[in-house]
Amino acid sequence: MNIQEYINSGILELYVYGALSPQESEEVSKVLKQYPEVETEVSEIEEALKSLASAAAPYNPEQMLAAIKAKLISHGGIVQMHPTPINKRARIISFISVAASLIFLVGIFVLLNRTNNLRQELRVVEAKNAIMQTKVDDSENSLNQAKTILAVIRDPKVTKVPLAGQQVAPDAYVNVFWDKENNKAYIDALGLPEPPQGMVYQVWSLKLDPLTPTSMGLLEDFSNNENKVFSFDNPNESQAFGITLEPAGGSETPTMDQLYTLGVVTNNA
């Protein structure tokens, strides 16, 4: 659109007069909002017409304002005035409520955060507790074991049978504590080397004449047994104890060339 042509057409003067159809006026209103030079032109036309019309007024009717306001009040037009203080108060109240909600939200967020942190800390503490409990249980276990061992060693009715190292392992040694009354034998195998992979120590009760070995059991899970003390039932009339290295699972008869330790029960007990 050529704006200068549009202005020169005289449509804007008719627009200010109110001489255009409603549709035409709405179109001019749109153009006016789009083009500042059109808005300026309309304002200038309006000012000129206001001056012209003012010249036709009998006088400046300023003092009539009071009479008009009096009429407005009498017909109830101005009753609900003072919108400003109400607005201000409403604004303050809405500001306060917005602020309060914000603080509330922040508070909830902080609390949630703190709860989460506490929950996590609790989980960590619980895990630590569980670990501690296991350790305590372990210690208790080993203490009980130690107590049992000590009780066995101190018991005068228990026979101590030292087994000496043999040809394959001259430095090895084992003590057997044999509680004849309760048919129990405790093997203190601290002096045995770790068995090779796939091999296991087997404990034998021996009768000497003729030499008759009876398997008492295996030193299972040797490396994980901290005290290296193993307990067995031993209802045999043992005259000697021997320990051999056997393939995992043990053997029917001892492999004599893998005899690690051997000791004879002395009869003074």
Partner: protein, 176 residues
């Protein structure tokens, strides 16, 4: 620029905005009414009614439809024309002459705004008869282009441009 902020506040029933708008527009509206009625007392009555209507019906104004001044003009011209049809006014003004705004301005001896008054007196003197008639019908009486073209025997297509030339002189003089 028109005072959109004041108009918005008026529509929120702000009394102060009403007062400010009254100050801005009342004298020109008073002049339009008086140019129809040629009677100070009747014009005062109509002016009051017009501004009471402005207060009561300000919600119906929208800048999409047109200027606030135009909205006021329509209310004022309609109220003034209604007044000419009322019995009391007819009885009083039996010999209604074909006077118009030019007569009022020419016969006036005091202006509230001196600078404008000098310019407008000068304008009226230099204004051709046709211009006076075109402005009178379209602006003061609220005629449509078609009504004005029939009344003045001017081709419809030339009303717009002729009117613009007439008003351009006024604007030149007022700017001087």
């Amino acid at each position: 620029m028109q005072p959109d902020d004041l108009i918005l506040r008026l529509q929120q029933k702000d009394e102060k905005a009403f007062e400010r708008l009254y100050t801005l527009y009342s004298q020109s509206i008073f002049g339009v009414i008086n140019s129809v009625l040629h009677d100070t007392e009747a014009s005062e009555e109509v002016l009051q009614d017009v501004f009471i209507k402005v207060w009561d019906n300000c919600d119906s104004y929208s800048s999409k439809k047109g200027r606030f001044f135009t909205w006021l003009l329509n209310i004022a011209r309609n109220a003034a024309i209604d007044k000419t049809r009322s019995k009391s006014f007819k009885n009083q003004k039996k010999n209604l002459t074909q006077e118009y705004f030019v007569d009022i301005i020419e016969s006036k001896n005091s202006f509230s705004n001196k600078m404008d008054a000098i310019g407008i007196s000068k304008y009226i003197k230099t204004l051709g008869e046709e211009c006076k008639k075109v402005i009178n019908l379209l602006f003061f009486k609220g005629y449509t282009q078609k009504e004005a073209s029939e009344e003045l025997s001017i081709p419809l297509g030339t009303i717009k441009t002729r009117n613009r030339l007439c008003l351009n002189k006024l604007r030149e003089i007022l700017v001087e």
